[in-house]
């Protein structure tokens, strides 16, 4: 096993900073898992490969965050460990060993996942998948850019690494939104439907959770500018209820999820729950 060398544990993470790491990891893991459902089912071979490459990037990012979080937890004071106890997997507590990345990814209960609701929604049709990816990548691009300035060097390092990947995801998904929106009557209708479905979930990006270190509401303007520019090109209407108040679907960041997450988790966690501590 390789150990992250630049995990600087001299400055112990606060419980809030630790929850924030889980939130970042969960966003990437859950969307990565969702996108992986396209493996072997993409509309064309190249696009099947593209969406699963994006999936792989996201799962890789999640691993970096989970590895950091696991190491940081093991080095925490008892007081801080107690403060994050509600986020730790029950099964792991019976293992009597240090916390590892896989415990965080595969053994927590639904309510302990802190991902954005938009990441757990079903993959839907291709239009829904690419539009969700576009909204998500446009947000991640702002978020990781901001995290480059984080005082925590490990966090800033993961953000710098990931940002290069997200730039590709954002470009790819922007192009697909334009291609479908400005395509045929059928493709336009499909992405329009996806827009109605997904738009209410976009407010959660900019509603900071109690543990969030950075004020995500400051990303809202740059995100909207990007969306507006791509939508104009895609001949899509600027969604109604652009005000945050009209985009009310939230709760994921605090562990309150849609019914879709449990189903996703039961499939994703099956192996670690059936064969505890199994390794590849």
């Amino acid at each position: 096993m390789t150990q992250p060398a630049d995990t600087d544990l001299s400055h112990a993470l606060t419980p809030e900073a630790w929850a924030f790491l889980l939130h970042l990891a969960d966003n990437a893991l859950i969307l990565g898992q969702r996108n992986a459902e396209w493996c072997g089912h993409g509309p064309a071979l190249e696009q099947d490969i593209a969406i699963t490459n994006i999936s792989l990037d996201l799962i890789g990012q999640a691993r970096n965050f989970y590895q950091y979080a696991a190491g940081a937890y093991n080095a925490m004071s008892i007081l801080n460990k107690t403060a994050v106890d509600h986020l730790l997997p029950r099964l792991w507590k019976g293992y009597d060993r240090q916390l590892e990345e896989d415990d965080l990814a595969f053994l927590r209960e639904e309510r302990q996942y802190l991902n954005l609701l938009i990441s757990e929604l079903p993959k839907g049709d291709w239009a829904q998948t690419v539009l969700r990816q576009f909204f998500f990548s446009a947000f991640q691009y702002q978020q990781y850019n901001d995290l480059l300035q984080a005082e925590d060097e490990q966090l800033a390092g993961i953000a710098a690494k990931s940002l290069k990947e997200v730039a590709y995801h954002l470009r790819w998904s922007s192009e697909w939104v334009i291609r479908l929106g400005d395509g045929t009557a059928e493709s336009h209708a499909r992405i329009d439907n996806a827009l109605k479905e997904l738009w209410p979930f976009t407010g959660e990006f900019f509603t900071p959770a109690s543990y969030e270190l950075r004020d995500t509401s400051t990303y809202s303007t740059a995100w909207s500018d990007r969306v507006t520019a791509v939508f104009e090109e895609a001949t899509l209407p600027t969604p109604e209820g652009a005000a945050l108040g009209a985009r009310l679907q939230k709760g994921g960041k605090e562990g309150i999820h849609t019914e879709y997450l449990g189903i996703l988790l039961s499939e994703m966690q099956y192996l670690q729950r059936t064969y505890p501590n199994a390794v590849w």
Binding site: G32, E46, A50, D57, G60, Q61, I158, A160, R171, W172
Partner: protein, 161 residues
């Protein structure tokens, strides 16, 4: 006693499992080599966060060093500064081209540019710049796929990162 230079030489023999003409040194992922007596400490940086080749590369490095008689090896992973294709050696780029993969264009930015714009990537077979992007994502995370309009061959481009 082993010198750091000897270790660098040995690492030249460890190839990227996905692109077997490139050594881990050519790729620019080996950041530091430190030796203390027979102890070896390596620092490597991943190419892409989710690159599945990284675990194999770690194992291959260990196996190669064991083969040469070095058992006390620690491999650390370092994320910052993030790996960039600019760290790929010139020799590595030539090897890539000879292998049929267009090497990354030095100093070119990853995908932040205009939508639908395409880099002029020369075909590794006939050097024509009349090439067309087929997909930004190809057989591995680090490559995109192009087609040459002159010689009609499809080829991989080691994309800038």
């Amino acid at each position: 006693m082993v010198t750091e230079n000897e270790i660098w030489q040995i690492l030249q023999e460890v190839k990227d499992p996905e692109v077997p003409v490139l050594s881990v040194v050519d790729l620019g992922i080996v950041r530091h080599v430190q030796t203390e007596g027979d102890k070896i400490l390596l620092t490597i940086t991943p190419t892409y966060s989710g690159c599945p080749a990284m675990d194999v590369i770690n194992m291959d490095i260990r196996l190669k060093l064991i083969e040469k008689g070095y058992r006390d090896v620690t491999i650390n992973q370092q994320l910052a500064p993030a790996w960039t294709t600019d760290w790929m050696s010139e020799a590595g780029k030539q090897k890539l081209k000879a292998y049929g993969i267009a090497p990354p264009i030095y100093g070119s930015k990853s995908a932040t540019g205009n939508l639908f714009s395409e880099e002029a990537v020369p075909c590794p077979r006939c050097n024509s710049v009349a090439t067309k992007l087929i997909s930004q994502f190809a057989s591995t995370a680090c490559k995109s796929m192009y087609r040459c309009l002159d010689c009609k061959e499809a080829f991989d481009y080691f994309k800038c990162h």
